[in-house]
């Protein structure tokens, strides 16, 4: 067990280092995130000027949400990308056979790798636009250390839920060979139902409840609400519990799907 954990750490660490090689791309990305953060902030300001309590947020909540969204966009890999894309490519080329030979679980390996990537993206593409946003606008911050801790846990869970979804998308390549179409559609749903385009709390009537029960709500809406102090005490535990539930459901599904795929690959290889 101890060796497995240290292996995962090693994989995550290498993955972190791998992404940190592309510095210019990181700076370009931070610039793009900041530009979109500005545009979205101004649209939210216009909305909350007309309706100062829309969705139970005030204008500062809304602008904070806009910047949290930009910080999370790469961290949870809304547009897909990350370790799961490597898997899809390896399925296509057949290299995945080597992955399946390894005496470690495929799921654990790729999850560790994706967490390493997410760590890098959080510290660069997450933190830098957030600081920029904080310099330009009046933002809200977590009220105390407990909320910071809850937020940190929530971000990690956001990544694992998103990993579960992306892993299933990539695994579709075992059957379809090309996952581009599925990936594209998945990204569309993730973009919209994570609340990146517009906060889920703004959705009208029951659509808001439905959207907040879907796994994509764990990407941004839940961590953002924790940051903004919308979940207090037991409520915060329930919010984190929601993310844990989706993590477990998705990772179990991944496990089952990969087990089936495993059989398929062996048959395929003769």
């Amino acid at each position: 067990m101890r060796s497995t954990v240290s292996l995962w750490f090693a994989v995550a660490h290498r993955s972190f280092r791998r992404y940190s090689t592309y510095r210019a791309a990181t700076f370009a990305g931070i610039f793009t995130n900041s530009v979109f953060g500005l545009i979205i902030s101004f649209t939210y300001i216009a909305v909350w000027k007309q309706n100062p309590t829309a969705g139970g947020y005030d204008v500062a909540d809304a602008v904070t949400y806009a910047w949290l969204g930009q910080a999370m966009i790469m961290t949870v890999a809304v547009w897909s990308g990350g370790a799961t894309d490597d898997l899809a490519a390896r399925i296509k080329t057949g290299d995945v056979a080597i992955d399946l030979y390894r005496p470690v679980s495929l799921l654990g390996w790729y999850l560790a790798s994706d967490l390493g990537r997410a760590g890098y993206h959080l510290l660069t593409r997450g933190l830098a636009p957030m600081i920029f946003g904080a310099l330009v606008f009046d933002l809200h911050y977590p009220a105390n250390a407990l909320v910071w801790a809850q937020f940190a846990v929530s971000v990690v869970l956001a990544v694992t839920v998103s990993f579960g979804v992306r892993m299933l998308v990539s695994a579709s390549a075992f059957w379809l060979l090309d996952d581009t179409g599925v990936k594209h559609l998945a990204a569309v749903f993730a973009m919209f139902f994570s609340g990146l385009a517009v906060p889920l709390v703004l959705f009208p009537g029951w659509t808001s409840d439905v959207a907040q029960a879907l796994p994509w709500a764990a990407y941004l809406q839940v961590p953002a609400d924790i940051w903004l102090g919308k979940h207090q005490g037991l409520d915060a535990l329930a919010a984190v519990g929601f993310q844990v539930l989706w993590t477990v459901v998705l990772l179990l599904t991944c496990h089952l799907v990969l087990a089936r795929a495993n059989r398929k690959v062996v048959v395929h290889g003769g």
Binding site: Y22, A28, F36, A46, V188
Partner: protein
């Protein structure tokens, strides 16, 4: 001169047609990708509808008026993206060394880079933008004078040219950086997102920058002010509402200059 242009256009059409046939040979993937493009931009508009379920006006503009801005911006970006969207992969091509192969062919590099992997699936974005645009024109309670009607194709043509130039500049910069296209995205997709909303929601300094530095405001904002009969927050002379061709021409000259300089200084990858 005319011969050369004609030769380039027909080469472009030939390459594009080849890539269309390639994409149609993977029918499922093509259908999913086109539907994906339609949905991506479609949900963009649903997001605006969600906002309007909480408010009646945004920056002094009604939903139908914003739909007009949205449709105009989406169509201009969609046309530009269809015609030369793949130019943004120039950096990747430079790194892979495939630009060298293109340079030895007796054909303009620009034409080859634009037509390479021509993606018909981008019609998804155009269809969606077109539907919103058509709906807004139908729903807007406007007196459609000849001048207003004529302004619509005017907006679409020059708006597209402005985005074509921005795409080209974004790609040409990659001759120096050989990096990904993310920086360019801030101006192309960012510019189009920005233009979906009335400029009245942005600070005055931002509107000035979008008029005089990165002339995104000429894509659809100034022509729309004329069509929708709205006051100009910058109080520029009325001529500004017709100045899109000037902005488009200046930007095109700049784009051509940067592109040519980039091609001249290109030294291939490696040693």
């Amino acid at each position: 001169m005319v011969d050369r242009v004609a030769a380039n256009v027909s080469a472009y059409a030939l390459l594009a047609w080849m890539w269309i046939r390639v994409s149609l040979s993977y029918r499922t993937s093509f259908a999913l990708l086109t539907a994906g493009q339609f949905l991506i931009t479609g949900l963009d508009f649903v997001a605006i509808l969600v906002m309007f379920s909480n408010v009646d006006v945004l920056g002094g503009f009604s939903l139908t008026e914003i739909a007009f801005l949205y449709g105009g911006s989406a169509l201009c970006l969609g046309f530009a993206d269809l015609l030369l969207g793949n130019i943004e992969r120039l950096g990747q091509r430079i790194r892979l060394g495939t630009v060298d192969q293109m340079l030895v062919r007796p054909l303009s590099l620009f034409v080859q880079v634009c037509a390479d992997e021509f993606a018909l699936r981008r019609l998804g974005r155009i269809t969606q933008g077109g539907l919103v645009f058509a709906w807004s024109i139908y729903a807007l309670d406007l007196d459609w004078t000849a001048a207003r009607v004529a302004m619509v194709p005017y907006l679409l043509v020059f708006g597209t040219v402005i985005f074509l130039a921005i795409f080209t500049i974004g790609a040409a910069v990659q001759f120096w950086t050989a990096e990904s296209s993310e920086l360019a995205n801030a101006f192309t997709y960012g510019g189009s997102t920005l233009a979906q909303f009335p400029m009245t929601i942005y600070p005055v300094e931002a509107i000035k920058a979008l008029t005089f530095i990165v002339p995104i405001a000429f894509v659809n904002w100034y022509p729309s002010l004329f069509i929708l009969d709205k006051p100009d927050p910058l109080h520029l002379p009325t001529a500004a509402q017709f100045a899109a061709p000037v902005a488009a021409a200046l930007l095109t000259v700049a784009a051509a200059g940067i592109w040519r300089t980039g091609v001249r200084r290109y030294r291939s990858t490696g040693s």
